[in-house]
């Protein structure tokens, strides 16, 4: 064990020292600052009307397109508030000459992700995005526009019933699990992915909300929160030890059926140690809820005689 710990320390030190050396010196981009277009949004809208390949007029139905709101980009640098100076792109050119591209946004966009996201975070930086840098989505090369639609009349990920469809575009396995018979109501959009997950970064693994495990589960299942007089330690520690949150073929979103789930931790003298074999007569130890036919207070008991979670 000690040697493994030393090896770990060596890894940390090695990574810390070696990689900077490999990386070389910092590089800076120098050059003349690009110019703004001559007429702002008029330069853009002359081409990008509803008949163009990139129609943008729907933005005027959104907060970003409100010229009367001084905080809106359209009241300031207009399109170039987000897309950057467009003088080069909008300049007069001979027919047939290709225009230099404007920075655009999205999963397959050419602009560097950091630049795309900075355009948004310049205004939208708040407590919900504290953990964005280094988060799984940021490190996974997602840009804000991977999920958000800016030029649409409404952003599906912010609409009730629209969010889950956006998430499962990448999280297909979770979508498939939601089709299982025991599942949270994600299919029906009665729950949103964002009810449990903080897409912009979180302290918990899998971008789970809450400072501690189980905290987000207790938002809806506060009856399981306790604290109880008699605790069931795994239930207090992490709901995910026994439950699969996106869906399961077993009742109550369990990872495995009782009694085998229970027998992964309990093998006491008496009935739990028994190998419950298939037999001719149905057995109470195997049928219905198995162990929970009797030990029904599996999340904890507040009964003075509830040490075995029977009361």
């Amino acid at each position: 064990m000690a040697s493994f710990g030393q090896a770990l320390t060596a890894w940390f030190l090695g990574l810390g020292l070696l990689l900077p050396a490999l990386a070389g010196a910092a590089q800076t981009d120098e050059g003349a600052a690009p110019e703004l277009s001559r007429q702002g949004a008029d330069s853009c809208l002359r081409c990008h009307d509803e008949s163009s390949a990139f129609p943008v007029m729907a933005i005027f139905a959104t907060p970003h397109g409100q010229r009367g709101d001084t905080r809106s980009p359209m009241a300031g640098l207009q399109c170039e508030a987000c897309h950057g100076p467009g003088g080069e792109h909008a300049a007069r050119r001979p027919p047939g000459e290709e225009r230099p591209p404007m920075p655009h946004f999205g999963r397959h966009a050419s602009a560097p992700l950091a630049e795309q996201n900075q355009a948004c975070l310049g205004c939208h930086q708040d407590r919900t995005r504290l953990h964005w840098s280094g988060s799984e989505h940021e490190a996974g090369d997602l840009s804000c526009a991977s999920c958000h639609r800016i030029h649409a009349g409404s952003d599906p990920v912010l609409e009730r019933g629209g969010q889950n469809a956006v998430c499962v575009d990448c999280h297909r396995r979770e979508q498939a699990e939601s089709l299982l018979p025991s599942a949270h109501p994600l299919r029906s959009n009665e729950m949103n992915c964002g009810d449990c997950h903080a897409a912009h970064g979180a302290m918990q693994p899998a971008l789970l909300k809450g400072a501690l495990p189980n905290q987000v589960c207790a938002d809806c299942h506060a009856d399981k929160r306790g604290p109880f007089l008699w605790q069931h330690p795994p239930a207090s520690e992490d709901c995910g030890l026994c439950h699969r949150p996106h869906g399961s073929a077993h009742p109550a979103l369990l990872r495995q059926r009782p009694p085998w789930l229970c027998q992964q931790c309990h093998d006491q003298a008496g009935h739990p140690a028994v190998a419950h074999s298939p037999g001719a007569a149905p057995s109470a130890m195997l049928s219905l809820r198995s162990c929970a036919n009797c030990h029904s207070q599996v999340h904890g008991s507040n009964h003075p005689s509830g040490a075995l979670l029977l009361r």
Binding site: L8, W11, L19, A25, A26, G40, A41, D42, R46, F60, P63, Q66, G68, D69, R71, G76, H108, D126, R127, L130, S133, G134, G140, D141, R160, R172, R173, A176, E177, L179, P181, P185, R187, E190, M203, A211, A218, P227, L229, P233, S236, E237, L241, A249, Q264, C265, H266, D267, Q268, A273, P278, P282, A284, N293, C294, H295, S296, N302, H303, L308
Partner: protein, 689 residues
């Protein structure tokens, strides 16, 4: 019934106190007249939909608010949206869906972008939480479940001769009613504040097991639960840093302290005629959090989070037994339960150079149970006095140190490497201390190319202190290793491939694999393996046909050993899940006619074998078809036709073919297996104002 509560006015008052705004002025350059922009003007719109339909429901697994109506027959519903946008950008919006159905939703919003946002919503959710069945119990005399007067107790269910006449249908249903209020304010350029209030009432019933030693009965438990949540927060944002202070409160209340029921069996000891279960106690959770971020240095970014919380529960304890012959004293009158929590995280990332970023993260979590530990004499299921037991204050502390390097050269790929060390200390459990080391690497190809690819490999090893005899429960096999404490080696791999072709054609492939090895555990879980594959193919454009095909396969295998180490047993289980789907969206199939179709098929199989004996296969099948057509009849009027078909079947040997008296020592619900079909036909008329 929802109870009035003083919190909403408090929320609103707090919000009003924080209201106020000073706007930053950003002027466009001279000559930017925006002549092609729509003139800022007041805009109003409204959409009203009236629907009529018929359903053969209910279907427990339906995914549709309309189709999941609880009663078959005719349906009528109202959907609506009203929106008003002022010239200065202020938005007022009202949304309503499913009014008249079992799951209505109503929401109001008042938003001045960048200044404030007020919201309120009301939602009702109904679902059948458990399988229906029959019960001999009925609720009478307060909260006590009683058996009929002519009930004949017996030592086993098969000899309960009055059972057939006593059985009545019981369909557990639960209804959640949710109220959400929210207010967000910006005060000047730096301050933001928010208030959120959430109220949920949960009513209905569910099955709950109640036992007298090894003789049990399924009881229909009535629910009357409520939760109030309040979140307050203030953020301050400066040029290079951000700080946030927040407070969260959650109050849970249960209108029922306990569930008493008549013993359907012949009492095992004198006086054991009735039992009592303690139901979820009233409790509350408080949390104060402070978070901050520093980004003043061009290469350095720091963020931290500190959360201090407390869980409290002090419900008056029930009597140790309803049996008048067994009345030991309890060492205290109320639970006095308390848990203190602490969570902290500090993260630093440094951009050493353009291609290289390093991140270091430390996280600490502590759940410390402060409930007094005392000896309680145990009355075992109201039948006899057993040993005394001490309520142990289980606690854990967790420390995680993680390092991550992102290396992105001037090439369309990047490499990520991570190393983590997590230590967890637990009190009163078989292993006091465990450590897990995780290493992983990911290679990701990305750029403007149409191909995006990522591959990830991970390895983790967990070990820790020697196993001891657990203090509770007594009698545990000393060779047993609880799977969350046991030595473990874990290997995982992940592959993602996305290809963007011409004409909107997209292909996505995903593969996941994880293998957990617990072979050092003589008794308990030995191995767990999971694998999944998924593929999607989509194409088309908004103006033509949009289509999507998807398929997935997942499987999980578990192996475990039990019993005495020298003459034990083993079990193996294998769960399979396949799903397939097709979506079509065709605007303008005919003039003014848009059509959408969604079909999905999902099937699961479960196989469990014990030694060489196999249990019957567990099976589920779900077909779901949704067809919608919208005919734009007039510029302001649309007709909507909706047809939905769902079929769900299962085979579950743990429940199927079990009458209430099939098990000698469990009085069950006799729930039938599922084989349900739903047809829904609906017609809606929409008018745009």
């Amino acid at each position: 019934m929802p109870r009035p509560h003083p919190l909403p006015p408090t929320v609103l008052l707090f919000g009003l106190l924080l209201a106020g705004a000073a706007r930053a002025q950003i002027q466009p350059p001279e000559g930017w007249d925006c002549r092609y922009c729509p003139e800022p003007a007041v805009a109003r719109s409204a959409l009203l939909t009236v629907g009529l339909g018929h359903t053969t429901g209910p279907l427990r697994f339906s995914s549709d608010p309309v189709a999941s109506a609880l009663d078959p027959g005719g349906l009528a519903w109202l959907d609506g949206q009203w929106q008003h946008r002022a010239a200065d950008g202020r938005l007022l919006r009202v949304d309503a869906t499913g009014l008249g159905l079992d799951k209505p939703w109503l929401a109001l919003r008042d938003v001045q972008p960048g200044v404030y946002r007020l919201s309120a919503s009301w939602q009702e959710l109904v679902h059948q939480s458990d399988a229906g069945g029959r019960t001999a119990f009925h609720l009478a005399d307060g909260d006590r479940l009683q058996l009929p007067e002519n009930w004949i107790s017996a030592g086993s269910t098969t000899r309960m001769t009055s059972l057939p006449d006593a059985l009545r249908p019981q369909q557990p249903e639960q209804e959640r009613r949710r109220l959400d209020l929210g207010a967000d304010f910006r005060t000047g350029a730096a301050w933001r504040s928010h208030v959120r209030y959430h109220r949920e009432d949960r009513m209905g019933s569910r099955w709950l097991g109640g036992a007298f030693l090894s003789q049990a009965a399924w009881l229909p438990q009535s629910l009357d639960l409520s939760t109030d949540r309040l979140d307050l927060g203030v953020d301050y944002r400066a040029k290079s840093w951000l700080a946030s202070l927040g407070y969260g409160l959650s109050l849970f209340r249960n209108a029922r302290r306990s569930l008493q029921w008549d013993n359907a069996y012949q009492p095992l000891s004198p006086g054991a005629d009735a039992g009592e279960l303690a139901l979820a106690p009233d409790n509350q959770a408080h949390q104060l959090s402070l978070a901050g971020q520093y980004s003043g240095h061009p290469r350095l970014r720091l963020d931290g989070h500190l959360a201090v919380g407390r869980l409290l529960q002090d419900e008056t304890l029930l009597a140790p037994s309803l049996n008048p012959n067994l009345a030991p004293q309890t060492p205290r009158d109320s639970a006095q339960a308390r848990v203190d929590t602490l969570a902290a995280q500090l993260r630093a990332s440094y951009q050493f150079s353009r291609p290289l970023r390093l991140e270091l993260r430390y996280r600490h979590q502590d759940r410390d149970t402060r409930t007094p530990a005392q000896d309680f004499v145990q009355v075992r299921t109201d039948s006899f006095i057993a040993d005394g037991r001490r309520n142990l204050p289980y606690a854990f502390r967790d420390d995680l140190l993680a390092m991550q390097a992102d290396y992105r050269p001037r090439a369309p790929w990047k490499l990520r490497l991570g190393l983590e060390r997590e230590q967890r200390k637990r009190d009163f459990q078989a292993r006091r201390h465990s450590e897990e080391t995780r290493a992983w690497g990911e290679w990701r190809l990305r750029g403007t190319d149409p191909v995006q690819l990522s591959a990830r490999l991970g390895y983790a090893r967990r070990d820790g202190s020697a196993f001891e005899q657990a203090q509770d429960p007594a009698g545990q096999n000393s060779q047993q290793r609880a799977f969350n404490l046991a030595d473990r080696q874990r290997r995982d791999a992940r592959l993602r491939l996305d290809i963007l072709g011409d004409a909107g054609l997209q292909l996505g492939l995903q593969a996941d694999w994880a293998d957990e090895d617990y072979s050092d555990s003589p008794v308990g879980l030995q191995a767990a393996r999971r694998a999944s594959l998924g593929a999607q193919l989509s194409g088309g454009s908004d103006s033509s046909l949009l289509w999507l095909l998807h398929a997935s396969h997942a499987q999980a295998r578990l192996q475990q050993a039990g019993g005495p180490p020298l003459a034990g047993w083993w079990a193996a289980s294998r769960d399979l899940h396949d799903s397939y789907g097709l979506s079509l969206d065709k605007p303008g199939l005919l003039p003014r006619l848009d059509v959408e179709l969604d079909y999905s098929y999902s099937r699961s199989q479960g196989r469990i074998a014990l030694r060489s004996d196999a249990f019957p296969e567990l099976r589920t099948r779900l077909h779901s078809l949704d067809l919608q057509a919208v005919w734009h009849w007039r510029p302001r009027i649309d007709w909507q036709l909706r047809y939905r078909y769902e079929r769900y079947q299962d085979a579950d040997w743990q429940f199927d073919s079990l009458a209430p008296d099939s098990l000698a020592n469990v009085l069950g619900p006799g729930a039938p297996g599922y084989n349900e079909v739903l047809h829904l036909l609906g017609l809606g008329l929409s008018y745009r104002f």
